[in-house]
């Protein structure tokens, strides 16, 4: 098989038109993943904690919103934000921001329940003991609960981040020039090497996801989980 099409377009696959045009290709995929991964993590943590500490109607509103976000496809959220918001509210939404928002909202909603479950898996006595020492609610969470719950949550964060990296490819439907988009462009231009091109694209996604997994493994080893009793 002739892979020269990859070599010839390597720069474009990697950076897109940058520095003459906007950043694209694998670099943009990485950037989108990083931004939405961090934002999803922060949202997931905040919502998960809110799920644990909120009571009454506030909690039901939260459960409702999270349920809604988990039930709609990422693609639809991107479409709505990108095409519907300008029509309804006459605001111009930048494509990149749309993608990052959609991915982090939905990723965060998925993570929230993982976070809540991780926190819930700790024995109630840990809360009681931390409170009994006079720690304030924020300190109880930050100093006692989260340091124990985060390692428990790591696998669900990892799952979410891996699927998020792959979901960045959906950005191509609103014309964001990330890896899948530029690959389709090149494929359409040269016409004859789709197998090589999309094998290469698969390899890049595989490398990104594996690198993340490797990082998470190293992190997990640095924070050895200690049995509670």
């Amino acid at each position: 098989m002739d892979f020269s099409v990859i070599i010839d377009n390597l720069g474009y696959f990697t950076w897109g038109a940058y520095p003459d045009g906007p950043l694209g290709g694998a670099a943009l995929t990485l950037l989108l993943s990083l931004l939405s991964g961090v934002a999803a993590g922060v949202l997931g943590l905040a919502w998960g904690i809110a799920l644990v500490v909120s009571r009454g109607w506030l909690r039901w509103v939260l459960v409702g919103v999270l349920g809604f976000l988990r039930a709609i496809p990422v693609l639809m959220l991107m479409f709505w934000a990108y095409f519907l918001l300008p029509i309804l509210f006459h605001v111009d939404v930048p494509a990149l921001a749309t993608v990052v928002c959609a991915l982090s909202l939905i990723g965060g909603a998925y993570l929230a329940h993982g976070v809540a479950a991780g926190i819930g898996s700790l024995p109630a006595g840990q809360w009681a003991a931390a409170k009994a020492l006079g720690l304030r609610p924020g300190q109880v969470l930050r100093l006692v609960i989260l340091p124990q719950a985060l390692p428990i949550m790591l696998p669900s964060f990892l799952n979410q981040w891996v699927s998020l990296i792959k979901d960045t490819s959906l950005a191509y439907v609103i014309g964001v020039g990330e890896l899948s988009y530029v690959a389709t462009q090149v494929s359409n231009r040269v016409m004859v090497h789709p197998v090589q091109i999309f094998l290469f694209v698969a390899l890049v996604y595989f490398l990104f996801c594996s690198a993340l997994q490797w990082l998470a493994h190293r992190l997990a080893r640095r924070v050895p989980s200690r049995s509670h009793r």
Binding site: G125, A128, A129, A132, L135, R226
Partner: protein, 244 residues
């Protein structure tokens, strides 16, 4: 120090505590006993506000843990509490377990906190284990660390919620020994326990609870001395517990 006046608590329509009245004076050791579900754990959890109450009045060193404006964290910092399952923080070393609240609650310097922690670990006979993690210690050792942890805050009084009931039999004594020593040093203690030997040895008073009520509130001598004077439910309970 601790005064209960006709205190009640409900879970829905179920009365967990029903008109409890008693007081614990400074330096007094009071043992609470009774069958499971009698409300004894709930009673002591009211003292540091881990559980709210809904009737009567409770004051701890003059402060009402149920009052709206009460700074509960500040009150809890003055009341030590021990748990059935120790509840050391497993992600922190023994030393860090003992310095955490000193630094974050009392704002002591790291150096002072460490010094105090090591002195107390020495007092419970575990100075050599300062850098271990809780999971590396036996149950008895963990509970002694938990006692030292509570003492780091120089509490006015201490609450014990069945501190030996999760321990293997051979480890019960080492924990009781530390508690006896505390009692002899004049610590005000409110202990939920089934260890009648401990009660007989150090308790000034015994409370017997059943179905949310304090049925007996008398000196340890009276409680163990003349069983015939006790309520039938207390007699039944004692005969079961003293049988072994």
């Amino acid at each position: 120090m601790i005064e209960f006046e006709n205190v009640s608590k409900h879970y829905g329509t179920f009365k967990v505590l029903d008109g409890c009245t008693t007081r614990v004076a400074k330096g007094e050791v009071v043992v609470v006993c009774g069958p499971s579900g009698s409300g004894k754990s709930t009673l002591i959890k009211l003292v540091n506000g881990l559980e709210p109450y809904d009737g009567g009045r409770l004051t701890v060193a003059g402060i009402d843990p149920g009052a709206r404006g009460t700074d509960l964290p500040a009150l809890r910092a003055r009341v030590g509490m021990l748990f059935q399952h120790f509840e050391l923080f497993p992600h922190l070393s023994v030393l860090a377990n003992l310095t955490l609240a000193q630094e974050k609650v009392l704002k002591r310097s790291a150096v002072d906190a460490r010094q105090r922690a090591l002195a107390l670990l020495d007092r419970v006979g575990l100075a050599a284990h300062a850098h271990k993690y809780p999971a590396q210690l036996s149950g008895g050792q963990q509970q002694r660390v938990a006692i030292a942890r509570a003492l780091t805050l120089d509490p006015l009084c201490m609450l014990f919620d069945e501190p030996t009931s999760a321990l293997d039999p051979e480890m019960v004594q080492e924990v009781l020994d530390v508690m006896v020593e505390l009692a002899r040093d004049g610590m005000t203690m409110l202990c939920v326990t089934h260890e009648m030997g401990f009660a007989r040895k150090v308790a000034d008073r015994i409370l017997f609870m059943d179905q949310g009520q304090i049925l007996e509130d008398c000196s340890a001598e009276a409680f163990f001395g003349d069983l015939g004077q006790r309520s039938p439910r207390a007699q039944a309970f004692l005969s079961r517990i003293l049988a072994h």
